[in-house]
């Protein structure tokens, strides 16, 4: 392991750990909203989802 290897390893691992920590912090401290649960289905999927629901209900 050369000096260059050590430097490269520490910088690389440090970078990905810091980036992940930053993202987790921002995600965990971000205000939440319930929009995902209310996401509108587009017309095509509404049609096929209704068929699917009907089939599930009847079975």
């Amino acid at each position: 392991m050369t000096i260059g290897g050590w430097i490269f390893m520490i910088l690389s691992v440090g970078f990905v750990v810091a980036l992940a920590a930053f993202c987790f912090y921002r995600v965990l401290t971000a205000p939440t909203h319930a929009s995902q649960a209310k996401a509108q289905s587009p017309p095509l999927m509404q049609q096929t989802d209704r068929q699917w629901q009907r089939k599930k209900t009847s079975s």
């Binding site: 392991m1 290897g5 490269f8 990905v16 980036l19 993202c23 587009p42 095509l44 096929t48």
Partner: protein, 484 residues
Amino acid sequence: MIPYFCALLLLGIPICWAEWTMGRYGGRKGFRSAPAIMGVVGKGAVARYLGVLGLLIPLVIYMYYVLIESWCLQYCFAYLFGGLDLGADPTKYAEESGKFFTAVTGADANGITLAHGGIHPSVIFWAVTFALNFWFIYRGLSKGIEAVCMWAMPAMALCAVIVLMRVLTLGTPDPTYPDRNVLNGLGFMWNPDLSKLGDFKTWLAAAGQIFFSLSVGFGVIINYASYLTKKDDVVLSGLTASSTNELFEVAFGGLITIPAAFVFLGASASFGSTFGLGFNTLPVVFEYMGGVGRVIGAIWFLMLFLAAITSSLSMLQPVLAFLMEALGVSRGRAVSLLGGITLLGSLWVIYFSKGLVALDTMDFWVGTMLIFVLATVQIICFGWVFGIEQGFEEAHLGAQLRIPSIFRFIIKYVSPAYLLLVFAGFCLQTLPGYVKGLGENDVARWTLVLISIILLMLVGMTRMGERRWRELGLDIDGRTPPRD
């Protein structure tokens, strides 16, 4: 690792943001599948038909990925019920591990039966895994998977830390090979090797690895992002998904698998297939951990299996959404059709298992080359056709985080130029060798024919979808902004 980090910063993260943004934009227009969304963002039929690659890639990758997934299950069972015994001689661990891997994968012969008759065990594990995937996708158990991931992923991270500590304290396990020690293993992984920078194959492989691990240029993110609303944050979500992947790949993979492979198998074997590397190397590491190693091994491969299930389901979902959207069929029928197609392709891979030729052919031409092509199409559509200003405006809807302005320049100029240059260089430098290799191997050649047939079938379905979307009066060429 230099090309790897260049690919992460100049390709992976920018294209990830572009794909999340395009997916959500297409979703706001009422579409879910890659061809439809690419048609909207790319404003026409050319982008729409190039978007078919966003179906072909997850579909074909699923065909061999489900097999790799079943290997994880088989290894887990082997640890639980004592089927994996590397013997008492530490100098033979690596050899025994290689033999076990060959037996599990059936890499010594084609076919699905054993030499002395009976079904090969890998076929049984593959069938269970395949059925489990389709049971999940049919039932739509997203909440169950989410709940499992909530504890499985942290558990896997904990296992990875334990394995990492063991690898870093291995020293020189085999005194007959004093050079094969942990420090040299880390050096093999991390020492900058500037001589490799002139090889386009290295740059292509690095970009392919980034795309594969971030699921960028895959057709998966574009489908998943289409379910988001304009209030959802695609910038932070995209960056978090990328950084979590990188945490596992660089901090764990880069410090565990490659150095361990060097220590136990030597430098030449460490250049081998990334799929085989972990399966060959980690059992040796677990063996060096004593009794607890068997427990860690079972947990490790179980977690890997669960993680792989979530990945393979994510590969099925874009095609499932496409079949429902393009053909207007119910979910049940779409699942049946998808099951039939993937069953045939996956059987092909498991049957032609000798030397893993079918798997490697699919992995190279689809899992590396076509991902590279789709990523290029996507970034050009986003930066040039959709427009970088409109793209950034769309990306920042609901965003808590601003994309640094330098990425306007990177997405519009650097990423496309990078991709086109590496692709052109690879085509001139290395591709002729691959094409020549195809001529010499029947299985590889017929595997390409199979991929071409699947591609033509998807193009035909897209044509049917195009007619259907037009009849429904949908804005398939992205002429008007979303109404929400």
